[in-house]
Every structure is written in C-alpha cells, then in structure tokens.
C-alpha cells in the first residue's frame, strides 16, 4: 500500500552483521514503532519479525569467516510501516526466503515463519547499486489499540 506522498524515513542504521548487535537493532525498531503510537502487541510482533530477518543476515549473508554489514531503513508510508533490510553479500535466491511447512519439532526454519506470519507483505527488491540483497517488509499500523503500560 502506498500513498500520494513519499514515505517518511524514520531511521537508517548500518551495523555489523553480528549477533551482538541485534539488541541494538531491536531497540531502534522499538523506538520507531513507538513513534507511530502502535499497541504493545504489534510492537512486540514487529520487533520479533525484524529481528528474525536481521538474524538471517547475520547467519547467512556472508561466507564463514567473512564479516560484513547490514543496513536497516525504517519508513512510514501512510498507515504502513516499511522495513528495508539490506546486506552486501552474494545474491540470494529469493525462493530461499519463502517458509516451508512449519514442523513443531524442527530446530530451524521458524524465523521465516515468524516474519511471514507477522508482516502483511514480504518481498525482495533490487538494491539501487545492484549489489547485495534487499528485503522489504510492510506492516499496517493499528494505532489506538491496547493502551501501553507506561512504567
């Protein structure tokens, strides 16, 4: 879903694609969602989905022993939050990003399910300079939901 206006950029973060940076990313996503005054349930879901997408970059974007960056752009497009996650690694077959059948006892593969269950739209875009991979996730906002417990 798009509006007549250009999407508003809320944040842009380039970070080392490492597990110990994911908490930082979750903090940024949390802050961005709160700017949009969404309810807590949506906030938790969105943070989880973006975190899982970042995990996939940490785990799979770069060959073993090679360090690289990820870049997360957060935009507000009318009543839709847009997350664009980029890596700078080798091209990935987009079919790898579709979840298979969820098996409750499986040890792997849940992250993609979480992303697709939570987000309204998930798709691959072509980065402007043609290198790396760019995942776009879109989530419709539901402001004025369950009141937040301010502590």
């Amino acid at each position: 879903m798009t509006t007549d206006n250009e999407p508003e950029r809320l944040a842009l973060l380039r970070f080392p694609a490492r597990a110990d940076r994911l908490k930082l990313v979750r903090g940024l996503v949390t802050a961005a969602v709160r700017m949009c005054e969404c309810d807590e349930a949506l906030e938790r879901d969105v943070v989880l989905a973006v975190d899982e997408a970042c995990q996939n970059v940490v785990r799979h974007a770069y060959p073993a022993g090679v360090e690289g960056d990820a870049e997360l752009e957060i935009l507000r497009d009318g009543i839709v939050l847009v997350f664009r996650l980029r890596d700078f690694g080798p091209k990935v077959d987009a079919s790898c990003l579709r979840p298979g059948k969820l098996k409750p006892n499986a040890l792997n593969g849940r992250g993609l399910h979480f992303i697709h269950d939570i987000m309204d739209e998930v798709g691959c875009l072509t980065p402007s300079d043609g290198t790396g991979n760019l995942l776009e996730m879109r989530k419709r906002l539901n402001p004025c939901g369950t009141p937040r417990n301010e502590t």
């Binding site: 938790r44 879901d45 899982e52 040890l107 399910h113 269950d117």
Partner: protein, 107 residues
C-alpha cells in the same frame, strides 16, 4: 541473559531471564543440555524472559528432544507474555508441557 539453577527435590529448576536471542542462546543451550543430562526432571522458569526469538525456541526444543531420548522430562513454567506470543507463533503449545507457575510445575 541471566540464569539461576536450583534443585528442588528431584527437579532441576533453571530460571532464565532477560533476552534469549541469537547472541545468548548458545549459553542457554549449554545450560539446558547439561541439566537434562544430569537430571530426569527439568523445569525451565521463563518468568524473567523479556525477549525470546527463534534461536531461543530452537534451544528449548533441542533440550526437550534430548530429555525425551534419555527418558527424562523437560517442562516450562511461568511463560512471560512476550514469550507466550512467540510460542503461539511457533505452535509450541502442543509440544511442551507448560505450567502456569513454577510451584505447579513442581507438584
């Protein structure tokens, strides 16, 4: 991630706290696998978990599978609200025995 391990009768209780994520789940895995190897009954107290992701969930599933292979038990207790949502998404409510409280799990 914080953790505390106590022994209550024949049950090993592992209380996890904070974030169980890609960074910390290797430590959680180490703790849980050691516990299920040493004890026939393990109860994981999740009341202090503020965030859990798919890697944390995978760690719990692996510990459960290891416990069952050894004819032991692993159950969860006091699942926090944020963790409960992740369990719903992962359809784990039918995989784990989940107790409302640690006391119930010890009963």
């Amino acid at each position: 991630m914080k953790h505390e391990i106590t022994r209550q009768g024949d049950v090993t209780v592992i209380a996890l706290g904070g974030d169980v994520d890609l960074e910390t789940s290797p430590k959680a895995r180490e703790l849980l696998l050691a516990a299920v190897k040493d004890s026939r009954r393990v109860l994981v107290d999740l009341s202090g978990v503020s965030y859990i992701d798919s890697s944390g969930v995978a760690t719990l599933v692996e510990a459960l599978q290891t416990a069952r292979k050894q004819r032991g038990e692993l159950a969860l207790a006091a699942v926090s609200e944020s963790a409960r949502r992740v369990f719903e998404l992962a359809r784990l409510d039918k995989v784990f025995t989940i107790h409302a409280t640690v006391a119930e799990g010890l009963g």
